[in-house]
Symmetry: C2
Subunit: 349 residues, 2 copies
């Protein structure tokens, strides 16, 4: 059954997340989470949806006609992807384990951290990520606070968003070892494979792994990170890598090297997209949940037609057809940049 | 003396080089050499010129407002750069050694290769690069032909433009060892540092070095290539790396590792730009000409206000102020895409 694509629309959708410091980290002090959003119409009424996550200005590159981060790559896969992933009973019952990044963005004051931890613990969360890397004393205080809140048996990860040089990363993270982080994420330039390997080797005796991959642009970079033992957690990103196929290549390589995949998510729609990939990884590739979990950030889901379903800190498998990235038309209209109501209002302030 | 920038213009300039197979290699069968071209006007009449080389469609990315390859990075340096480089007597008298890529593009028939070699030898060229990587038998024939034409004492390099996997590169190049190439350029994915290291190690006993760098996007990648002994020739590119500063960082690292720098050039204006960097390298950093030479491709220079001067296969130091990338207004007008006469004519065919 062949259908024809009869129309496509591309829109620049931006959410003013910087206003409340959601998404703030050591590299991005005021990001507006955004998406280049594509809709394909076919002659049979079926639609395809695709998006690429950006921090706003990046959308202008994504939407340049031949941009390397083209959302078109993702769109066509949306029409047929979902049906593959819905077979496994265990996932349907229990879901895929998740961790939360929503409690500890860098720009949140301590009182807010505490409140968010308390709420998250009540909702069943057991794994927490803290942003670090701007100021060491501040990091020690905040990490201690979180560890105190979540107790010794829950999991804590830290994320520096590329802020350090190699030696700096080793000494800085060593000083945070007391809070027993499972991993340090993006300790240095995401291109520095050998630097990550040096860091991983130095931190191994402290029981701290290296996690990276959200800025990793192709399978060749992941191949080397694995070959060099430069990472202990593979963080694929559904939008950074070009297409589902490139992600699948990385899943297979990670399996060969027996390194767990813990996808990057959050942003705009990344949770919606990557849940498909991580369920595929479990059902078809790794069949293993040890040290595996998918990132979750609790915002902007309300703009999607089929938002992720989180139950007891697990991603529940999506049951709707598609790649879960259809946005609500009302949301797109309001947030379209620069003509949507949200941005007109913002500019008039 | 502070001056104000009062205007800037950006234009998409493309040359239909694919018509005659200039620039054809194992990855690019029909490139149209192009540039995103920027002119800054100041309130004192001084102008700044900048460009980024592309293969046509890439200009659309370069010109997206926040593109990673923005030509603006290069423009401001043009106003003050030239005065630094004009001090050394030796360079003024002898120039900087060059090699030619103009004789052996992949799409040229044998008769044309022969004629071009004959002409180049007459003009004093002693170093020649041959494109390879599409078909092994064809490569053997063409490389033998060139070696025969240039004799045993001249230098021959081969360039695969990323066509191979790691093992394939080793076996393919081994079969070309009989023509005694000085280097194999871009044997595999430009991101594959560890792959290049494997290739370099395997080819060292054959006396063949690995050259790469024209697709290398930052100093972090070059740092690793040097750390891993993955290359024996550093090929900086004046447009790929962001700004003069990033290039200088690579020159300094190459000096630390004692690896010669042999810049990538050709394209549109790359020879004009990179001659400044390589003269700086000689005069201020390496002070060494052993195994050092700058690529030269003999086309599109006629469109520049101050084209490179080649004498006896050497780059003669530029004596005009600036970064040598001002284009002739008549050339820009004719080649502006898609409205220039050259492209209107082309589309009407």
């Amino acid at each position: 059954m062949l259908h024809k694509i009869i129309n496509l629309t591309v829109r620049d959708v931006r959410f003013p997340t910087s206003l409340e410091q959601h998404g703030s980290d050591a590299m991005h002090s005021d990001p507006d989470y955004s998406a280049a959003y594509v809709v394909l119409d076919t002659d049979c009424g079926l639609k395809g949806f695709g998006l690429t996550f950006t921090l706003g200005k990046g959308t202008e590159i994504a939407l340049s006609r031949n941009g390397p981060f083209s959302p078109f790559k993702h769109t066509s896969s949306g029409v047929f992807t979902a049906c593959v992933f819905l077979s496994e009973d265990q996932m349907l019952k229990e879901g895929y384990p998740a961790y939360t990044t929503s409690c500890a963005w860098l720009g949140y004051p301590d009182q807010q951290l505490k409140q968010l931890c308390t709420d998250a613990l009540k909702s069943g969360w057991t794994k927490f990520k803290v942003k670090v890397g701007a100021d060491l004393e501040d990091d020690v205080r905040r990490c201690r606070l979180i560890r105190q809140m979540i107790g010794p048996n829950n999991t804590l990860m830290i994320d520096a968003n590329q802020r350090w040089d190699v030696d700096e990363a080793i000494s800085w993270v060593s000083k945070l070892a007391e809070v027993k982080p499972l991993w340090i994420e993006e300790p240095t330039s995401p291109d520095d494979i050998l630097g990550h390997a040096t860091i991983a080797k130095a931190l191994a005796p402290l029981g701290i792994g290296v996690a990276t991959g959200e800025q990793c642009h192709n399978r060749v970079m992941f191949k080397q990170l694995l070959q060099a033992s430069a990472l202990q957690f593979v963080q694929i990103d559904s939008c950074r890598l070009g297409s589902v196929n490139e992600n699948l290549a990385v899943l297979l390589m990670a399996h060969k090297f027996q390194v767990p995949v813990c996808p990057h998510a959050g942003g705009v729609g990344l949770c919606e997209l990557v849940q498909h990939l991580i369920l595929f990884d479990y059902i078809c590739v790794s069949a293993n949940l040890s040290n595996r979990m998918c990132e979750y950030v609790d915002h902007l889901h309300e703009h999607f037609a089929n938002p992720v379903v989180i139950q007891d800190a697990h991603y529940m498998p999506p049951k709707d057809p598609g790649y879960s990235c259809e946005m609500l038309e009302s949301s797109v209209k309001r947030h379209q940049f620069p003509e949507g109501d949200v941005w007109k209002l913002h500019q008039n302030k």
